[in-house]
């Protein structure tokens, strides 16, 4: 265990580095130790917002509604209930009915890209996964689809620690607007009860109002954003590594073997965020109640320096999708889509010239690209 070196490994460009009470974890071994320790909890955002309401006289009704219906902000009974409600749609058995739909959509998305010589992978591949595959599955058809999709990502921003009061007010307004956009589910390609939202509405759930169910569906939809970003990151890794030949760095077969490794390094979420729930000593290191621990996912698997080696051995646990009771509900869906889309894309585009890449500088909690333009090389 290497908790003692926490402060010495904080050389990072993260806005959370070198801040009092913030610990950035960059090595795999320490990360796993913390993730397994129940004294580290997910941030109690609901409690925080209630205290903020009391202190300021402001109210954040939509924010509280979403936090109360988002598994990643909860612990305990409600968390377990929400996981049970959501997981059944996203385990392999629940996804089975969508199998041919997903495959057809992947083919269509790639075929469309093939009609262009130059295209932005975010627009042509990343976003359609969000809007053409996951929207019908979740069954959300807002009144203003474009604005809804843009604002849905505000939920991702909520994971960022220490949003300002004005930012929280804006997020509350945006979330209220998202709720107001959903009137009713529209039948999907099979029948009305196929979509997650339609199914949720028809379920008798004592502790969940209709608005709660809408919030759950929007949360699940918004949670797809990291999948789109992760796919874009994987493609970026595969094509940027061989700039001379413009060939993808691995073949389809190689990708199947390397998928888990790719996910570690290309995962869109930068951090797993935990809070120490009390004062305690851990391996000689003093942890104070309220200390924020941020585990850098990609760094922990990359091994940036000697003090943070690349993890080795047979028992390496993947936490690109979170860990333990907060393991990502959509991980099966993500792997289902990635494992089919990437090999098909590699087949369709064995060679691509990377024209422009630009990181999304405003996103502090996800490794996301704002631009990723590619071109087929001239023969």
């Amino acid at each position: 265990m290497k908790l003692k070196r926490l402060n010495s490994t904080a050389a990072s460009s993260s806005k959370f580095s070198n801040k009092e009470g913030f610990l950035i974890i960059k090595d795999y071994e320490t990360a796993i130790t913390i993730l397994k320790d129940d004294r580290f909890r997910v941030p109690n955002l609901h409690g925080f917002i209630e205290r903020l309401e009391l202190a300021t006289g402001n109210s954040f009704p939509s924010l509280k509604r979403f936090i109360h219906n988002s598994p990643f902000f909860l612990e305990g009974k409600r968390h377990q209930e929400l996981r049970n409600i959501s997981l059944k749609y996203f385990v392999p058995g629940g996804l089975k009915q969508w199998d041919s739909f997903i495959s057809k959509k992947i083919d269509l998305i790639i075929e469309r890209a093939m009609q262009k010589n130059e295209f932005d992978i975010i627009e042509s591949i990343g976003l359609p996964i969000f809007t053409e595959i996951c929207r019908p599955m979740i069954g959300l058809y807002p009144l203003n689809i474009k604005a809804f999709d843009a604002k849905a990502t505000v939920l991702q921003r909520l994971i960022e620690p220490m949003l300002s009061l004005n930012n929280l007010k804006r997020v509350d307004q945006d979330l209220g607007w998202l709720l107001s956009q959903i009137e009713h589910p529209i039948p999907t390609m099979q029948n009305k009860s196929d979509s997650v939202y339609a199914s949720l509405l028809s379920e008798a759930l004592d502790d969940f109002s209709e608005e709660d169910k809408t919030a759950i569906a929007i949360t699940l939809y918004a949670a797809v954003a990291p999948l789109s970003q992760t796919i874009t990151n994987i493609l970026h890794q595969l094509y940027k590594d061989d700039p001379d030949s413009h060939k993808a760095a691995v073949s389809c077969d190689q990708f199947a073997d390397q998928m888990e490794g790719c996910l570690h390094k290309a995962a869109a979420p930068i951090y797993i965020h935990r809070i120490a729930n009390s004062d305690f000593m851990i391996d000689g290191f003093k942890m104070n109640a309220g200390n924020t621990v941020m585990i850098e996912i990609a760094t922990a698997f990359r091994g940036d320096d000697e003090s943070c080696p690349v993890p080795s051995g047979n028992n390496i646990q993947n936490f690109a999708f979170g860990y333990g009771k907060h393991f990502c509900i959509g991980s099966h869906l993500s792997k289902r889509i990635i494992s089919e889309l990437i090999p098909k894309f590699l087949n369709a585009f064995p060679k691509l010239e990377v024209i422009e890449t630009k990181a999304d500088a405003n996103n502090h909690i996800a490794n996301a690209l704002a631009t990723f333009t590619v071109r087929r090389p001239l023969i």
Binding site: K19, T56, P161, M162, L163, S164, L165, N166, L168
Partner: protein, 83 residues
Amino acid sequence: MTTNKENIASFILEKAADLTKTDLSTINGDSLLANVGIDSLYAVLMCGFIEDEYELEVEPILMFEYKTANQVAQAVFEMIEEK
């Protein structure tokens, strides 16, 4: 009133004392804000006050980057100068 580092630091101290129910006379610009009891909630509130008073966008993480009212005041002053 002219905005300078000293009156920004005074503003921060007054708000910190008020929020944490600390006697203002017991703290000064070099007191550690963590010792006064500034936690994440107070950091958000403090930055809200600073935003309103100086018409700035201030991230609450600022309160954890700088440890004393004088240090925070210096950072806020630089933001005002850059505005």
